[in-house]
């Protein structure tokens, strides 16, 4: 994201500290540097201690940002803190983020996401908004330029891009991977000229749009439909933006499948992801197994953690279901 003044591992501070009220800011700023550089989540819950997650470990935060393994010396979040955070992350304008509250998260500048929990207000059975918001999950996503280097030659053949499905358990880097795939396909690389890419970013995680502008590098020829439902977004892109490749996150609904087939018929390549640990696991889920049976995808990439977060465990040929890798790569 290239903010000057902060080493890349600490780039999040610029945006996130600004979204926090003074006393919480002081605490977060006091987190020891080595932990701050690999910080993944800051959890803030009213009346409970502040907790951070870093490299798969969790720590309680003391009033000075010190790390504790037990909650006794931790800072306990007050009602006032929670109200201030809500005001600041919404730019003092709760009325302007109604849609985001309904979805349960607010995207900050830089594409960082803050998940929210509170009491749902219903209207005619649908969630109208959240009130009494009392939990925040500040997620520090890191875009990794080059994350797709190791897989890109498996999903591109000459000038052709394969239909690709990325399977992975949560938190194993599938969004990071397809974000970089989007960038590489869009910008091109030696041996491949860039193509038009369309992203349907339902949860604002791939491009991390802030007021519609991508905050992550998703490529020079990439159009992003931010916060748009997948199936409708895919149809919109087909109709109006003539992409060569459509990239979207986490398919799983019946209408997603229809939209994907529509794209196939229009000659557009699809790259998408699903929550699943392997093909066998995916087969047990009705929608995914339907997709697999239709043999829509030509490449199926399986991510895991055997060599650390983001390990590419397997790459299947979608037709023969042969694994193209000898061993996991990272």
């Amino acid at each position: 994201m290239g903010y000057s003044g902060w080493p890349s591992g600490l780039a999040w501070k610029q945006v996130i500290l600004d979204a926090l009220p003074e006393n919480i800011k002081r605490i977060v700023d006091g987190i020891p540097r080595d932990v701050a550089e690999s910080l993944e989540e800051i959890r803030i819950r009213e009346g409970r201690p502040m907790v951070i997650h870093s490299r798969g470990k969790s720590y309680y935060l003391g009033p000075d940002g010190g790390l504790w393994l037990s909650p006794e010396k931790a800072y306990y979040v007050t009602h006032r803190d929670v109200q201030s955070i809500l005001q600041r992350i919404s730019n003092y304008s709760i009325y302007a983020v109604e849609e985001e509250l309904r979805n349960g998260y607010i995207t900050l500048k830089g594409g960082y996401r803050v998940g929210l929990a509170g009491k749902a207000v219903l209207e005619e059975g649908k969630i109208k908004t959240l009130k009494y918001i009392n939990s925040f999950n500040i997620r520090i996503s890191r875009e990794i330029i080059g994350a797709a280097d190791k897989v890109i030659r498996y999903i591109v053949s000459g000038a052709q891009v394969y239909h690709t499905l990325v399977l992975s358990p949560p938190q194993m880097g599938k969004t990071t991977l397809i974000r970089d795939i989007a960038r590489q396909l869009s910008d091109g690389f030696p041996g491949f000229r860039g193509v038009k890419v369309g992203i349907v970013d339902e949860r604002s995680e791939i491009a991390g749009c802030f007021q519609g502008v991508p905050q992550n590098n998703v490529g020079l020829q990439t159009d992003v439909l931010d916060a748009c439902p997948k199936a409708e977004g895919i149809m919109m892109l087909i109709r109006s933006m003539s992409p060569a490749v459509i990239i979207t996150d986490e398919i799983g609904k019946a209408e997603d499948v229809e939209a994907i087939e529509e794209a196939l018929n229009a000659g557009i390549k699809i790259i998408t992801t699903a929550h699943s640990s392997d093909i066998g696991d995916a087969r047990r889920r009705p929608i995914l197994s339907k997709i697999l049976d239709k043999k829509i995808f030509q490449r199926i990439i399986v991510l895991g953690g055997s060599l650390g977060v983001g390990t590419v465990e397997k790459i299947y040929d979608g037709h023969t279901l042969n694994n193209l890798l000898d061993r996991p790569i990272r």
Partner: protein, 174 residues
């Protein structure tokens, strides 16, 4: 000698009249400011309800449409929000109001109404923001009416009082 006496008497009359005018004017200016505040809140309501503009920007746009000390007060509030100095919008509002209150002709009661409104500004969904705007418009209209009545009642009185007390003082001193 007589010339100096006449001149100083004249000065006394002019000064007293001026003070009287000032006091009378304060009533008229309060009415004007309350009217300006109502216009400001009507614009702000439109920015918030119709366009969902973020508050710092909405306040700045509204300030551009205003005049006088009310304009400066709104600019000050918008700057406070943009600098993100307060933890909440209410804090920034209170700070701006406290520093501009002395430059405004509104009464302490008017200021209290504004202060209360600031506590909810921006801090809820569109629907309830709209209700708050209706409330503040009603309250300000009330205050404006009262201010107009007071203005009619006291403006002439203070004007006359200024001139007359000046004359009285001059006669006593002569």
């Amino acid at each position: 000698m007589a010339f100096i006496k006449i001149l100083s008497s004249l000065m006394i009359v002019v000064c007293c009249s001026f003070l009287g005018l000032q006091a009378a004017n304060a009533y008229a200016l309060r009415v004007k400011e309350l009217r300006m505040l109502r216009i400001a809140f009507a614009h702000l309501e439109s920015e918030i309800i119709n366009y969902a503009t973020f508050l710092p920007e909405a306040v700045e746009r509204v300030a551009a449409l205003l005049q006088g000390a009310v304009k400066e007060f709104f600019y000050d509030f918008s700057r406070g929000l943009q600098k993100r100095s307060g933890d909440t919008a209410a804090e920034a509002w209170e700070k701006a109001l406290k520093s501009w209150e002395k430059h405004l002709y509104i009464t302490a009661e008017d200021a209290q109404i504004l202060l209360t409104f600031g506590k909810v500004l921006g801090a809820s969904d569109r629907e309830s923001q709209q209700r708050y705007f209706q409330i503040i418009q009603g309250q300000l209209r009330n205050q404006e009416q009262r201010a107009e009545e007071a203005c009619l009642k006291y403006r002439n009185m203070y004007r006359n009082l200024g001139v007359l007390s000046g004359l009285a003082l001059a006669i006593i001193l002569l």
